[in-house]
């Protein structure tokens, strides 16, 4: 499938930027005329990945960046959400449904599960002390013209 469009941006890891980032990524794929459900799935998955950077990656999130890349193909959107934060020591454990390292913050531990169920492909890589990269792909069902 040929690449149609590319987008890169970075914003401070402030919770106030979450709505901006999920809306921006969703707006980026509107040129493929996706269904409302696809748009909502993308917003949800992006929100989870960005929230994790804000909540877990940095000691001082408001002074550090979340990096977002998106590539648009004829049939799909690929999304990368990256940080240069603390990384994840035990990735397998972190990706278990309901696992959270912050139960006292009433986190549900469902972030990775949502990224997985709301997209078609999820790939996470992480290095302690270097950061975490989340890659997702969503196939785009087109809305009726």
């Amino acid at each position: 499938m040929s690449l149609i469009n590319q987008m890169k941006m970075s914003v401070l890891a402030k919770s106030g930027n979450e709505a901006f980032v999920r809306s921006a990524v969703a707006a980026f794929c509107v040129q493929l005329n996706p269904t409302l459900e696809v748009i909502n799935d993308i917003k949800t998955a992006v929100s989870e990945a960005v929230t994790n950077v804000i909540v877990h990656a940095y000691e001082e999130p408001e002074k550090n960046f979340v990096y977002i890349e998106a590539e648009l193909f004829e049939d799909s959107l690929s999304i990368i959400i990256k940080d240069t934060g603390c990384g994840i020591k035990n990735l397998e454990e972190a990706m278990q449904p309901m696992f959270t390292s912050k139960p006292e913050k009433e986190r549900s531990g469902m972030g990775f599960t949502f990224m997985q169920t709301f997209t078609d492909e999820l790939e996470v890589s992480s290095e302690t002390g270097a950061g975490t990269t989340v890659k997702m792909r969503k196939y785009i069902k087109k809305a009726e013209e």
Partner: protein, 101 residues
């Protein structure tokens, strides 16, 4: 996001409107807890104006659902829409929290 509550005859209704995420979760949590402090006998989460929720909101709701359950107070959700309905369903919450019509 805006949140407000109504209390009438022991019934607490929490209205959450707009988009709920990490940026405003503390405001929603605080309003919910003020409502619980009034000792309701029933709680309804009214979400017909809620356009977006993610696992941050789900975590806040589950923890209050558990607390209410241990107090013997039933909690219902009302007005779930496309995105919020799917997130509730995928989280498994729809099978434990009752839907009010």
């Amino acid at each position: 996001m805006t949140v407000h509550r109504e209390f009438w005859g022991g019934r607490l209704v929490i209205y959450i409107c707009g988009e709920l995420d990490e940026s405003n979760i503390d405001i929603a949590r605080e309003e919910f807890d003020k409502g619980i402090a009034d000792n309701p006998n029933t709680v309804v989460l009214e979400m017909s104006e809620l356009k977006f929720i993610d696992s941050t909101g789900i975590g806040m709701i589950i923890s209050r659902y558990k607390r209410l359950k241990s107090m013997g107070v039933p909690m219902y959700v009302k007005g779930l829409k496309a995105q919020t309905e799917k997130v509730f369903r995928m989280s498994g919450l729809l099978s434990i929290i009752k839907i009010a019509h």
